[in-house]
Symmetry: D2
Amino acid sequence: MSDKIRVTVWGEYRHELKNEAVKKIYPDGMHTVIANGLARNAGIEVRTAILDEPEHGLTEEVLAETDVLTWWGHTAHGEVQDEIVERVRKHILEGMGLIVLHSGHFSKIFRSMMGTNCSLKWREVAEKERLWNLEPGHPITEGIGEYFEIPNTEMYGERFDIPTPDKLIFVSWFEGGEVFRSGCCWERGHGRIFYFRPGHETYPIFYNEQVMKIITNAVRWAKPRIRQPHTCPCVKAIETIPPKEVDFGKAGVQQDVKGA
Amino acid sequence: MSDKIRVTVWGEYRHELKNEAVKKIYPDGMHTVIANGLARNAGIEVRTAILDEPEHGLTEEVLAETDVLTWWGHTAHGEVQDEIVERVRKHILEGMGLIVLHSGHFSKIFRSMMGTNCSLKWREVAEKERLWNLEPGHPITEGIGEYFEIPNTEMYGERFDIPTPDKLIFVSWFEGGEVFRSGCCWERGHGRIFYFRPGHETYPIFYNEQVMKIITNAVRWAKPRIRQPHTCPCVKAIETIPPKEVDFGKAGVQQDVKGA
Amino acid sequence: MSDKIRVTVWGEYRHELKNEAVKKIYPDGMHTVIANGLARNAGIEVRTAILDEPEHGLTEEVLAETDVLTWWGHTAHGEVQDEIVERVRKHILEGMGLIVLHSGHFSKIFRSMMGTNCSLKWREVAEKERLWNLEPGHPITEGIGEYFEIPNTEMYGERFDIPTPDKLIFVSWFEGGEVFRSGCCWERGHGRIFYFRPGHETYPIFYNEQVMKIITNAVRWAKPRIRQPHTCPCVKAIETIPPKEVDFGKAGVQQDVKGA
Amino acid sequence: MSDKIRVTVWGEYRHELKNEAVKKIYPDGMHTVIANGLARNAGIEVRTAILDEPEHGLTEEVLAETDVLTWWGHTAHGEVQDEIVERVRKHILEGMGLIVLHSGHFSKIFRSMMGTNCSLKWREVAEKERLWNLEPGHPITEGIGEYFEIPNTEMYGERFDIPTPDKLIFVSWFEGGEVFRSGCCWERGHGRIFYFRPGHETYPIFYNEQVMKIITNAVRWAKPRIRQPHTCPCVKAIETIPPKEVDFGKAGVQQDVKGA
């Protein structure tokens, strides 16, 4: 595989068009700021895709050339076509990485990869969040200290309905009294998945250096190790199996049934 | 909750009607033999449901009264309606137990709970299987020794594309040279899930005492601890948060953008 | 095994003798209050053991009659004899349950079961702790709501150096800004282990109804499913293995060595 | 950290001196063959250390310069000094990688890292082993196909008494009828641990290309991400905590005690 990591930054790009406050922070969309933040790193190639493009910008060709997909969605999860979700899912299981951001917790793709509801508690009062680094040795936390803070954010609180993460990377402390598993790793099929909590649209969170450092690290971590379809083949025996005369005669079975 | 465990045994019930060899072994369907095997145990109440019943026999009423659902399907996974799968899934996430048997690995419900492809290798030459008990202290292996054998069975071989099980209970050795993770536990939402490999329709496997002992144990293990819907509520702060004047002025944000 | 759960509450019992503030709260020792709290529950039989008894009160006989051991220590971890630690460890691996409380995180027995350093951050300024319940369906949280609070406590903060828990039950929020994995489950050998953070000696924490409810639930959860020694036997083959003439002649090996 | 991975290959080096059959296969010791196998790879620097050297060759200096330690021992586990085990353990928890080979399952260092007994079943009749690759996307299986075989080996059978691996990489099929979790990954502290089953001294297993490929891959996987001591610091509050007047008067506590 190429040495370059090819990232597709997917954005819903609706709030930025309709909500004045969001438009002011992200005049070209959150996806553009995320893409710019990634593209300034050596070895990472970035393209973007948005909901309102044909096939949501996620054609078979685009996905085949994507090593890692980042996903931000919120208000229009339901508009993402099931067929495209299934296509993305297939690529993840074959090895493509997935980074799910903030309100993407309720996206079709994340919920279908997790198998759970992915529900949580929330509140939007611009409170402070402090993300504690539980795994200083993990590649996703490289360059991040013991904790970092986001001065104003939406709150997400437990219980977050997810499968137990393979590795829990960040736990958030919120000013209002809650906690949250804010950085979680899983492997599904041959693909790696990272959920990262920060990213509410009404705050300039994707301009935060630490947030972008973590997303960049996560992209590197989620780079495919292989890219391989799943098959369910009928295979020949490796060891010799003597021919078997199997007779499940009426008597034999009936005898067992009697026992029931 | 009731002291009785209320089990619904779901059967596809197609092979038994069309294939003479299967009909001979299971004249009233596999689901009937499984149901009988469970019903002989004190404290377990059993009903059955099949594909060709309205709503596949899995109405909201039936599921609301089901503590644990067992699932056997093979030839008609695609005929199970998505709407019913979603209904079953909701009940599992709220606390209902799920036992998936053999070829149910490719059922819509199992794949949607796992998030993976659930593919594997297979071969049908009536070979011998030996299931090794890795967790003698687990409730699912109560009464099972170090291993037990099934004299003639279809083979399933690794790689089985599943999320790492919370607990790996059985690993199978096959005469032809393969191995398989044959007993696997997961928790998803508030529900417990057990996958159990044995159960090929052309062999009298559900008459096997050990197999039925394990399914019975699994039913007891998967009994709901709670039954609770998932919600995503907006909540009030517990701690006092001082009023915030948040101003993400153009200057501030643009300054960050410049850095990009 | 008996229907009764036989619990041994182990206490270091030093602070209570030397520190006036602690003596005032726990005149008969913390172990007595924990034991009383457990003994008021039907189906639980309790005895206590302390550091300054012969063999720390943990003779082979006592352990053989103990289903679940609870452990509180702090100032004298180093005085616990290695031989007794090894004895306790053997019983846990054979099936005995272990509940480790608060400063027991640095006990020899907990560190030897975890294999890690078990270090953390701490601070003692009587701050508020709020324990969030991440697993409302788990037996250990039965009767506990979404969260509960301890008005004054010592703080423990991440990173807590433990192996990833099999199940993370509680995460704490602290007034001073930290978070902590306060309730963690593991299985080791045939035994179950629960670490529970609350319990600082200078606060009346073991009089707290919620705390004692959780310890009681944990005792029920940790009850042995089996009690079985570990052996490393030489076993006969189950399948027929043809006699083998194995000859690793000099030539053959040298040939390989050449490749190196 | 250096780009080179500095490996120390530790060998017990006793069988090779005393047993003619082993001496014939490994005239310079197994550690030499393992070291040669690793050293032929670019980017890996190797040194060896043996039991009978002072401090078993594992001085503080050596360990400080070791990125990954491989361990083979069998007949003399008891002769490894506890003090050296503790030193190695400290380095692993701080970030050094550990690869445990074959009979190393019963070494002091492996058992102390796992916290379990690490017992298993065994048999030595030169039977065939087939190792199935469960994780084709994992760096440890790079270049390894679906399975590989060892024509003659000692058998290890389940139940292997280990904590559930973070990732299960290989499962073995044995000619005589057993299965075994032959490749297992864990993280402890900041260090990575890989257990790999093959390596019996009476067969030329460390000349096997696949075996050495896997050990080489494991060395790369286990390379330290950080190297950092564990501390247990008293820390200042980040948030302002108002001064507290805590009074646990006799009355208050007694009132609670009455309830008991």
